[in-house]
Amino acid sequence: MTRRKKWTASAVAMIALLVFMSACSSSKGGSTASNSPSSTASSAASEGTDDPSKQPEITLDVFSNLANYTGEQTGWFAKVVKDKFNIKLNIISGGQQKASTLLASGDLGDIAVAIGGDDYKDAIKAGLLLDWKKDGLLDKYGKDLLENAGKSLEANSKQFGGGTAIYGVGNSVGSGDGPSDGARTTFGPMLRWDLYQKLGSPEIKTFEDYLPIVKKMQELSPKSDSGKPTYGFSLWSDWDGVMSVNAKVTAQFYGYNEGDGFNTADIMMTKADEAKWIGLLDDDGYYLRGLKFFFEANKMGLLDPDSLTQKFPDVINKYKDGQVLFAQFPWLTDSYNTTENTSQGKGFAFVPFTEEKMTSSGYNPYGSQYLWSIGSKTKYPERVMQFLNWLYSPEGAQIAAAGPKGVIWDIVDGKPALTEFGYKAVTNSVDMPAEYGGGKFTDGGFQANNATINKSMINPETGEPYDYSMWSSYLNHDPDPVTKSWREAMGAMTMKDYVVKNNIVAVQPAYFSEEAPVAEPADIKQKKAEMGKVIKEFSWKMMFAKTDDEFAKLKEQMISKAKGLGYDDVLKWQVENYEKTVGAALKK
């Protein structure tokens, strides 16, 4: 009998355990719905003192859709924030899937960066974002935010908070005329300056004119530094959305942007400074022109045959080795323009074409759409707000842009200037001091990877822009041979100077709407996914087509397939939204 009892007892125990386990999992959903009341209780303790550095140490979870790094923030930025706020930052890198998971779990961490479009609206609806007006949080701790990003806060309130609540603030807030780019613009094209000079700087009228020139450059330099074959162009497919990113840039050289910067409008291209648009697959559009460009490049042996199968880091390594001679984006060339190369006169520089009209966004007082917001589950709303406020203060923005004062830069004769150490550190040729966490300067920056105040804005405390590469001291500091030769040839100090002087830039004015962008309906989303996949696939096939006939045939197939899968419906929906909002504003 005892044996039987034991059996029954253990069976009952196991059942109890299982029921308990399943009860646990099902109760999860219930607890997320109720807002935790603990936030007010625990934050009361941290209000004891005004000096944030005297408060107890806390760790904040920073979820950023833009971060390329996951883990604790290290390096000089971590040291500055720890000293000033006694805060440690835990970076959670994003991506659509990760964002969905966090949204479904009901907790977006303490700071949420760049939650996009429809997700942002849903998050507010589900109560996952903190209202900055609650308990006077913004008024109490957000003086600099109100002063430097007031219009952005207002816009957020109107679009998402029904005019009363505020759920976040836009990035890259600024005001003024002209392009908001830094000294170096967003788009190139860049060529290997040394080789271009050797060819006698031939004139380049249209985008296609680069092809014969790059071919000659390849003949001049057939082998890279390590003896591998050189190419004009090396592309990558891992950033492609509904189209090939590399081919799309062609439109941006001609003043057309992908989308309109406000709506979900990714299969149309809109003129930056006029109320004009073209469809992605328009026959005379810039996307197809871009595909044709790379197709011709491939026929001439200028296109890296690994373009299709390699990943983005492989491309960077090829630039580093000098295997690639042309770059669409200036930042691609960083790995080649090292002090070692430029001191020998080898390096990339901006070589525009006559027809060029590169797109640029103007200063935007409402901020761009990578919003900074606070998760409603945070236990420390006050301290998060203090930290965010600092990021939007001249002091914080300056440090985020140029590193710690006294180490990387300082005020010399009333003007900001990099220190001797700073000049070496910003090119990553020396490590940061151990007390600043060591490592490279660029690795020690804020890993949330999102700007607050536009870096080209003037810092009222120094009288010069936040971006150190725009300081007069920096511009006049011993330019390397490549920069020197470029300045002499082009008659401008920086790329931005040049494009403004020669009027080859199309600046998109800031757009403001009282309403949030329209959410993408389910059937449009579905159709876009289907036809986007086809466009992506055929784009690459077209670039690598063997003959003109094959190119034309693939193009026809792409267009008929994409149309069959709903291209026209998606385009119609996107154009409607554009014409009601950004398009209408540009017409005025």
Binding site: M1, R3, R4, W7, T8, A11, V12, M14, I15, L18, V19, M21, S22, A33, Q96, Q97, A99, S100, T101, L103, A104, D118, D119, D122, A123, K125, A126, L128, K228, P229, S237, D304, P305, D306, L308, T309, Q310, K318, Q323, A522, D523, K525, Q526, K528, A529, E530, K533, K536, E537, F538, S539, W540, K541, F544, K561, G564, L565
Partner: protein, 318 residues
Amino acid sequence: MKANPHHHVYTPVSKKRFHLGDKYQLFLMALPFLLLVFVFSYLPLYGWIYAFYDYRPALPLSQNEFVGFRWFTSLVSNEFQREEVFRVMRNTFAISTLGLLTSVLPVIFAIFLTEIKNAPFKKIVQTLTTLPNFISWVLVYSFAFMLFSVDNGFLNNLLINMNVIDQPLNVLGSDNHTWLSMTLWGVWKGLGWGAILYIAAITGIDPELYEAARVDGANRYRLMWHVTVPGIIPTFFVLLVLGIANFINSGFEQYFVFKNAINMEHIEVLDLYVYNIGIENNNFGFATAVSILKSIVSLILLFAANSMSKLVRGEGVI
């Protein structure tokens, strides 16, 4: 398990106080496992409800738009869409069929491996063939890229230096024999691992059978053919039937890492298609709808395979 001889002696005593009939007792014993099955196999079916909604992760289901069967019908909504689905199914079935055909390779491999008498050599072979199973597909791809890339790949460098070819081959960026090459990568990765079960089955064969066969004058190949092979056929059939049930689940990771625009037409199996259309674009409703269809097809295939097995061998596995 052997029955407890004292069991019945106790029964009348307990009857007086509290007695559970034998069947209840057995039921109680099985209950924890039934619960496990329920929790992990039936409860998740509740998630099928997402197939009928335009699900947005932040909001509770009640606030999401109910779309009925839209995700199901969208699969066949027009001619182009049907063509897409047909292409994807063709890839899935082709790669799965090749997978089933190559499932005899681990059997053959296991038989020959057990025949090796030199123990250290046997160990080395087994370790080397099992090892790839533990390398993730992501690493396999970077390894493949190093071997086969056009620009600086090992194979191209070798062949060009040996003057076998003068133009580098683009192995990864071509659509020739995609189904076959994917199957071969799978075989390379899974051969040793797949053989383990069969090696275990071979070890379980009664040695007396071998002795008897030897006495009857069977040579080594006869032993393999008449003793070893029949000994592991039941194992093979169980795995084959389960494999057929999994026909439509041809996998995801491998095709995800090897896919590119050129080979997409032939590499896009059902799971990859669901990822490209559903998950990548946050369309969980659609992804769920396809997975429901998949479960139904798997179920049909399982029963079909089982009846085939009954027909051919006179016994099924379920």
